[in-house]
Amino acid sequence: MPEWLDLLLENFADPDSATKAWPLLRQGLWLTLQLTAVALPLGMLAGLVIGMLYALGGRITRAVLIVYIDLFRAFPVLVLLILVYVGLPFVGLTLPAFAAAVLALVLNNSGYFGEIFRAGLISIPYGQREAAAALGLSPFRTMRLVVLPQAFRAIAAPLASNALELVKATSIASLASLPELLRSARVAQEQTYNPTPLMLAALMYFVMLWPFARLVARLERRMLARGAR
């Protein structure tokens, strides 16, 4: 075996370091999944509420919502996390790292999901709602049975894409010293003086997220093909 390959394997695929890191990484993965399980539904729900309020609201409601959406889309999510986790305790509001990470992710993504739902809901012609009203459907049932199903189809691609970005963004919780997957890998690296745990964490992220990345790419291609015609 050439010397350089030997060196690479020793540093990035060391079985010893991998065995030691495994329990830490498994715990980290579990925490990453928990963060996702809490933040993703909440973020989507907040976005859906914002989108529906916009679709049903008057001029002032709409202006306020646009400002809200753009403010949170302009803030890097890490800046939000630091504000929540390090800044709020000064006024006596101390959140545990997990709650702080969820809050930052949900606020940030309520902007992104809000914009997606907003664009999707207003893309449905108003005649659809008038027709539903003429049939005697209540505004709520019109939303649920007529407008939302059509909107969902139109926004499947950005919705899936943003959901994937949210899962990836859980990694910033490591900077609020929450031992999720990335943080666990860093800790294990420092314990074993070897970057194999980092390699392993990257592999775990890849195996977990790759199917979704493929799905998003397929949905986006279909959307572009529709736009070209």
């Binding site: 803030f75 800044g87 070209a228």
Partner: protein, 223 residues
């Protein structure tokens, strides 16, 4: 209210640490420009290589796209800065951040460029061939300009989202806005520097977000 102002808008502290934090703006801008240049340049080159079906290279590029589209930005930055030195590649915090974010952007950009090129109707190629244009002329004068216009909305959104990742450079001791604000906050035991950092980020990114909204609404670019 008074306590709130003392903590979050403490003028004395802002005066002392303000200049230092504002100086971080230049680092943030530098990383952002480098990221966009690396990402869009590499992305376009990779898309062209994919369309031209360059043997072997297309497999390498395919793998590159899958990996960097899938991994979290922060994980890539951490790997580049803390992992690559073991393989003999040591980068400064600036280039580790710009390189990692550039790699992520290049993967998304390549995919968007390629999809846009493929989304154009076959008739465009046929018409150019009927006019007697060579492959190169067809590609660069007929196909690419239309594809780029098609790609703009997806591309601007993705570029803004990834440039916001410059704040992640804090994790590898990049002296940009957020990192400087955090150390000023630690020294002064007051979060006013953070308020300033948040405002600077808004000044930097809010115009971009509003511009992208305008770009989509005005249909300068067909959807």
């Amino acid at each position: 209210m008074e306590r709130f102002a003392e903590y979050y808008l403490n003028l004395e502290i802002l005066q002392r640490y303000g200049p230092e934090i504002v100086a971080g703006l230049w680092v943030t801008l530098g990383v952002a420009v480098a990221t966009v240049a690396i990402g869009l340049g590499m992305g376009l080159a990779m898309a062209v290589a994919l369309i031209a079906r360059v043997p072997v290279l297309r497999w390498v590029i395919g793998a590159w796209i899958e990996v960097f589209r899938t991994l979290p930005q922060l994980a890539v930055i951490i790997f580049v800065y803390f992992g690559l030195p073991y393989a003999g590649v040591t980068l400064s915090p600036f280039w580790a951040t710009a390189g990692a974010l550039g790699a992520v952007l290049s993967a998304f950009a390549a995919e968007i460029f390629r999809s846009s090129i493929q989304a154009l109707p076959q008739g465009q190629w046929d018409a150019a061939a009927a006019l007697g244009l060579r492959f190169r002329t067809t590609f660069f004068r007929v196909i690419l300009p239309q594809a780029i216009r098609l790609a703009v909305p997806l591309l601007t959104n993705r570029t803004i989202a990834i440039t916001k990742g410059t704040a992640l450079g804090t994790a590898v001791a990049l002296p940009e806005i957020l990192g400087r604000a955090q150390s000023a906050m630690a020294i002064s035991a007051n979060p006013s520097p953070l308020t300033l950092a948040a405002c600077l980020y808004l000044i930097l990114f809010l115009p971009l977000v509003v511009a992208s909204r305008w770009l989509e609404a005005s249909r300068v670019v067909p959807r």
